[in-house]
Point group: C2
Chain length 397, copies 2
Amino acid sequence: MAAPGTPARRSDRVTLGCVAKLAPRVIAGTLIDSADITPEELQLAVRNHSMPLEAMQYDITPVGLHYLLIHFDIPSVDVATWELTVGGHVERSLKIDYDEIRSRPATTTAVTLECAGNGRARLSPRPLSQPWLSEAVGTAEWTGTPLRGLLEEAGLHDGAVEVVFTGLDRGVQGGIDQQYERSLGVEAAMRDEVLLAWAINGEPLPPQHGYPLRLIVPGWYGMTSVKWLRAITVVDHRFDGYQQATAYHFRTALGDAGEAVTRMRPRALMVPPGIPDFMTRIRFVEPGVHVIRGRAWSGQGAITKVELSDDGGRRWSEAALGESPSAYAWRGWTCKWAAEPGEHELCVRASDSAGNVQPVDQGWNLEGVENNAVQRVTVMAGSAEGGAQPAADRTAG
Amino acid sequence: MAAPGTPARRSDRVTLGCVAKLAPRVIAGTLIDSADITPEELQLAVRNHSMPLEAMQYDITPVGLHYLLIHFDIPSVDVATWELTVGGHVERSLKIDYDEIRSRPATTTAVTLECAGNGRARLSPRPLSQPWLSEAVGTAEWTGTPLRGLLEEAGLHDGAVEVVFTGLDRGVQGGIDQQYERSLGVEAAMRDEVLLAWAINGEPLPPQHGYPLRLIVPGWYGMTSVKWLRAITVVDHRFDGYQQATAYHFRTALGDAGEAVTRMRPRALMVPPGIPDFMTRIRFVEPGVHVIRGRAWSGQGAITKVELSDDGGRRWSEAALGESPSAYAWRGWTCKWAAEPGEHELCVRASDSAGNVQPVDQGWNLEGVENNAVQRVTVMAGSAEGGAQPAADRTAG
């Protein structure tokens, strides 16, 4: 494995001939017609978790509830030897250690991050990859230093086109032995809000969130916010690494050039009301008026409207909008709902200032990215008649 | 929903008649013949996560990597109104608030917790429930006060048989509206190591680990360590709540009384060597000697032996045993492995001082509990010949 702090340019990796032999078994992206999940998807689901929907009640998601998507293994980094290099098409290369990076000007911002594949498991046919339902999201307070300061210190040469971010996480994807790498155009990289973050919710990053340092790109889907950063490389061309040029594109047919995935589409989620059934997650409430609460966000504009439906998306009621922890974080909303006895399908949809509205009907694309179809929650409102025996009558005491 | 601090005895829950209507759809425990995972299991898998196997390298599992199994929703508790009651078959009932509980004599112990359903997804046919693979485990340092002190203060009446622990989490399981409740026999409850814990790894409990207070029962499967504790009730009979008398039994046929699940069977896990393929999680290593590392634990005795096999469990090599963070936590081990070019199936198995040895072959029971069949990791050792192009040659720079 590469030593921490070694830039990706150095060919410190052996040739793993066996990667080629695996090729016939690399099935990411295969389309599956069944609603059932393959054992390969389950392996990803048991290690990468979404945010339990009831955590939508917190402005700032507690660590451990924030969603996680890790392509390879979580690296274990010794900060005594870790170093960030800034190089490539710059006037002066930099090497920065853990103490130095934390001594730079710091800012703290609440940022909502969402996985680009959120909602993938609802597609039919379903592209094989991490099988997310609707809740691959979280909002954390990230503390770090603006990337721009570092890039200005290094001095970009004329002709700089993109900035490449290399993580310490390494594995095989699409038959290619790679370290996780993504790029940003120079203009996007120089925006004020782009951070190199060393703390989450006031604490050092835990291993799974990119310790010791990660990129945070507010407004963009999470694959952009490279974790376990070891190198920043300015290049004079479009970066063609696997995670940039092959993966994370919206394509509806094989062979399409497709559209690169960038900023988050709008999405609203509700805290499912009442209590759940363990296995089906169907909800039970008492008949009567309930206040449904949730959050909504978009990376393409401010949230301007949230609507709730209790009939699967035919009729909509407008929710009251609340506060955001920051300009880059989700916005709270509440909506009263009068629950009649019986079964209901609650849906919620968000609109943003760029004119985007969440679709009620399921879209489809080859990778299952940017799927922001509305959340659907089945709720049963109980009647006093014909009821089951409440558990309280049969508990000990 | 019940107010924090209200003991389960008070009938503060409405009758949700609709619970009865759900009954035909309650499918937990249904047996599934396919290796594919149902959408209902996926809903559980995206919210309850296991410990990524590479986290086996840490003596103490960082918060956020420790496994989680939450039957219903994660309650949000206001400690200003939260109260623990101790009552039932005692001389004096107690009400204890958050400040009071934390002012009691405290101890800190490293404890390995494992879900009783760990390994369930490997069974065929598979019982519908949380679809764990092999890694529903974690080791944390729990800080709290011995339960015994509280029980002695309350004073158990003669004829006390069990102690019932009631959590604030409520939902429907097996068609029954319930709060999560489990019991311990008086003798087990009075053991020195049983704690009421308010901190994990030196920090207050996060919501998902039972804030503000949870039970920790070292050596037992995790379902025993009730989270979000609100009531402790001493009873003069065997508690017959759903999670105690119906669920968590080892049964091989419907209608069997079965054996109650209690202490953890032995299990060893390895950190999978090398680097993974994103989708299949198959591992790639360089040919040559590797040191394979991992942990092993048992709730039934001390770990006495760990063995590694590279041929799927036919021949075994004995591993060197390392240290444990405590008598109630896993024990480290290492084993050298000479990787020949080609494909291998690594297995590891543990033995304990009670004479238990992990089975190589998959067992089976109706709930998929206590399944400690050996971990299997497919590893490909690369050769220098016929290799794929390493990614380093095609990265930016």
